[in-house]
């Protein structure tokens, strides 16, 4: 079996593609980017290394729940995102770790703007990925969203996938 070599540019393109998929509300495709044991988490603000047993996370999704999350948001009864908000995700300062490792770590800064009912909210922070190569394609094993905010004010909610 030959394993395709992954270049830094492949990783960067993968991240940009994820952002585009989310901005275009192709949420089932987003969930499909994850491995079967993939996870998606948003730890408490100011304590990104908190234990999920002793601290309350915002989001702590296993593979099933991130799929539920994606599918829920596509329903008309996910009222907070119906009609869908308009979003713009920007990823910057992308740092790609060792490309030969079994798990490739990547981190980047992000700003995600969401507008709905003429109110713009902005989420700022850092994304930390663990990527693997599966069936000759990159896949997300773990995605962690570290919010660089003081609180969720005035955003009030994380109804989007960040």
């Amino acid at each position: 079996m030959t394993v395709k070599t992954v270049e830094r540019q492949d990783v960067v393109d993968f991240l940009y593609t994820e952002a585009k998929i989310l901005d275009e509300w192709r949420l089932k495709e987003w969930a499909a980017l994850f491995t079967d044991d993939g996870t998606y988490i948003v730890p408490p603000i100011g304590n990104p290394e908190a234990e999920p047993t002793t601290s309350l996370y915002y989001i702590h999704d296993n593979r099933t729940r991130l799929q539920d999350r994606a599918e829920r948001l596509l329903k008309k009864e996910a009222h907070v995102e119906y009609p869908h908000s308009t979003t713009t995700r920007n990823y910057h300062n992308i740092l790609v770790g060792d490309l030969d490792a079994d798990v490739i770590t990547v981190e980047c800064n992000f700003t995600t703007h969401r507008t709905k009912r003429e109110v713009v909210d902005t989420f700022i922070g850092k994304l930390k990925y663990e990527l693997v190569i599966e069936n000759d394609r990159l896949a997300i094993k773990h995605k962690k969203v570290v919010l660089n905010l003081d609180s969720l004010r005035p955003q009030g909610k994380i109804s989007l996938i960040l």
């Binding site: 948003v42 730890p43 408490p44 603000i45 100011g46 304590n47 908190a50 999920p52 047993t53 002793t54 601290s55 309350l56 996370y57 915002y58 989001i59 702590h60 729940r65 539920d68 999350r69 829920r72 329903k75 009864e77 996910a78 009222h79 907070v80 009912r117 109110v119 003081d150 609180s151 969720l152 004010r153 005035p154 955003q155 009030g156 909610k157 994380i158 109804s159």
Partner: protein
Amino acid sequence: MEIIQDNFEKSEFLVNRRVFSDKEILARERAEIFSKCWLFIGHETEIPEIGDYKRKKVGGRNLLFVRSHDGEVRALFNTCPHRGALVCREDSGNSRVFRCFYHAWSFKNDGELVGMPGKDGFPEDFNDEGTKNMKAVNRLESYRGFMFVNFDDNAISLEEYLGNAKEYIDLVVDQSEHGMEALGGVQQYSVRANWKLLAENSVDLYHGMPTHKTYFDIKQAQDPNLKRVRLEGRGISLGNGHSVIEYEAPWGRPVAQWTPIWDDDFKKVMEKMKQRLTERFGEERANRIANFNRNIVIFPNLVINDIMAVTARTFYPTSPGYMEVQGYALAPKGESEKHRLARNNNFLEFLGPGGFATPDDNEALELCQEAYNNNAEVQWNDISKGMVRGEENALATDELQMRSFWRHYNTIIQQSLEKEVAHQ
């Protein structure tokens, strides 16, 4: 101004929508409610050790919730007695002293002034009366770990204020033999809506199905045998504006109602837990603790919801159309790691800014607030559901619990309005 119309003959209860958008009303709420009622400041387990502190915003004030050197918990106004600067700038920590950076006045963690530069410029008896200490809120009282402050020195005691609500707080706390603890990571969020809408929403079961259909869809997919979601139970007015709904839980509860998303080992753990509850409290009370949900509102702004997990939330209006919310998770002390993770998964599936339900509540409240732009022509909210049954027979899906909030609210604000008329 007529705030409510409480018409038993017609079984109709109306609330004037101006109370959600009027700045004068907010000023009255600040003076008569947020300066005179007991307000939740935090849970005692947030500051377990001597010197532990947390900054808290309560009733619009900046407070320092601290366990002082003498072991007493205090709520200090976080303002320097000298020129007023915020003394403590860290959100939380442990310290023996707090020092204001502006002129370097220092205070012990009970608020006592212990030093300032240029002492020779002040008389020797400068602080003999203690007026240069950081001021503490005079009234801070606790009920089973829940700590409250009151800015009115003449207020009735917390226990008297809570009254009948104590029974329901007991049912929440009694699920643990070792007491409850607050988890780290209190969720700090906001809603662009009037604060009273969240008090209503937190004890509103009527909205459950239409607003949270997507959540119930997911629960039913996880457990095809999920009881038909009947949400049967009662709505009860507890006096002083407090109220509760208590109803059969359709979903798994970490204490102690098993659901098929959890494994068989867990089933045994839960059976044991239920058995122990029965030993402690008898069968009826054990059933209530394990198999029933409780959504409690403590007037004016504390909600304790013992549902698929336990949350406490408190909220405060910075303007008529915007509130700041603090969301806590509470759990039994000493819970196993596996059990705690199951509990937290339950919590996050429904609750909080990233849950599958709370953001939809947030949206509902914001849409109400936005549409109150029509208040001049469309003046009244309807809160009549169940009145026709008689208030003693209210169902959990009725609106008695909201009427009881509004009746108390109306008494307070009407008195305030009348006082003003008397002054003129």
